[in-house]
């Protein structure tokens, strides 16, 4: 019965990458914890960079500095 929530910043992850993450994490939970894949739900929650703070600043500000 695992439920997995993966929160990441919304920065251009493709549908193929999402499908690969879902496949690999489901495999890990089956192999390591013996959880049947048909009971494993995984949700990828993409968060705007204005809405994700890290070290006291938004990711928008961090990305600008990195680009600068």
């Amino acid at each position: 019965m695992p439920f997995v929530s993966i929160r990441i910043t919304r920065e251009g992850v493709t549908a193929e990458q999402k499908a690969q993450v879902i496949k690999e994490v489901t495999d890990t939970l089956e192999r390591v914890l013996h959880k049947p894949p048909e009971w494993t739900h995984i949700v990828i929650e993409e968060v705007d960079t204005d809405n994700w703070g890290f070290g006291g600043r938004t990711t928008t500000a961090i990305r600008k500095e990195q680009a600068g």
Copy 2:
């Protein structure tokens, strides 16, 4: 003080359906757990089908197979 998060795939649920779910779950928590409705918050979080994995595949892939 209940807080309820309901995650579903984003597949055309109407505002009327959402209001009905909110009403019924609030009623259940009041009747069974004696929680005052004015303390009950319920959030419906809709997730794109590319972002919800189930049985190791995205819901997008599952829906295609079901339609096929």
Copy 3:
């Protein structure tokens, strides 16, 4: 594929009450949103009253005032 998280304070809810909440919320999601019960996962997360804040105070403090 619904996943429901219900957070409540840990204040003596019984196993019977939990089972009833799970049954009713699953029914609501089936009846209103047409979600198959075998895809619906519901988690009840009990939180110590020291750890739940409301109106700027902990529930422990609120309960003391109500009892006083």
Copy 4:
């Protein structure tokens, strides 16, 4: 290692307000709990008013009544 999720209704909060909330909550966790800011992640999750229920009704309905 704190991770903070702040769910609010989507009602016009600005990027400046978000940055200020992120800064202040990171400061609180550093000052009160001694958590290093570079380990603190904060996510602001905005929820449509149709999707947030309170007292058994959607926030959309509550706002209409308040405006009425």
Copy 5:
């Protein structure tokens, strides 16, 4: 900046299994999404079987039937 929450039932998962899950999921997010491991936080949240509902029943009830 990923934050991953993995909810499972509390049914005897060992510290070694948890460490292995954390290692593999961090690896997946680095390899597939290019997320630096030092930004990836993973939380495993174990839920009592009385508190996890599936198909309208608690996992406690499901386990009893499976054992019976």
Copy 6:
């Protein structure tokens, strides 16, 4: 209607510290976002160090290395 979840490792935070965090975060949301305190719920979720992974390792392993 804010709902705030603060996940931290379970490493001896006191009830007084929790009450202070709840007070300050509620104040921030009132001052910056104009949210009435009586609508703000805050939950502090403490996670065992075996269950929190960071940089691919559990916090238990990280703490041992720091202590060593």
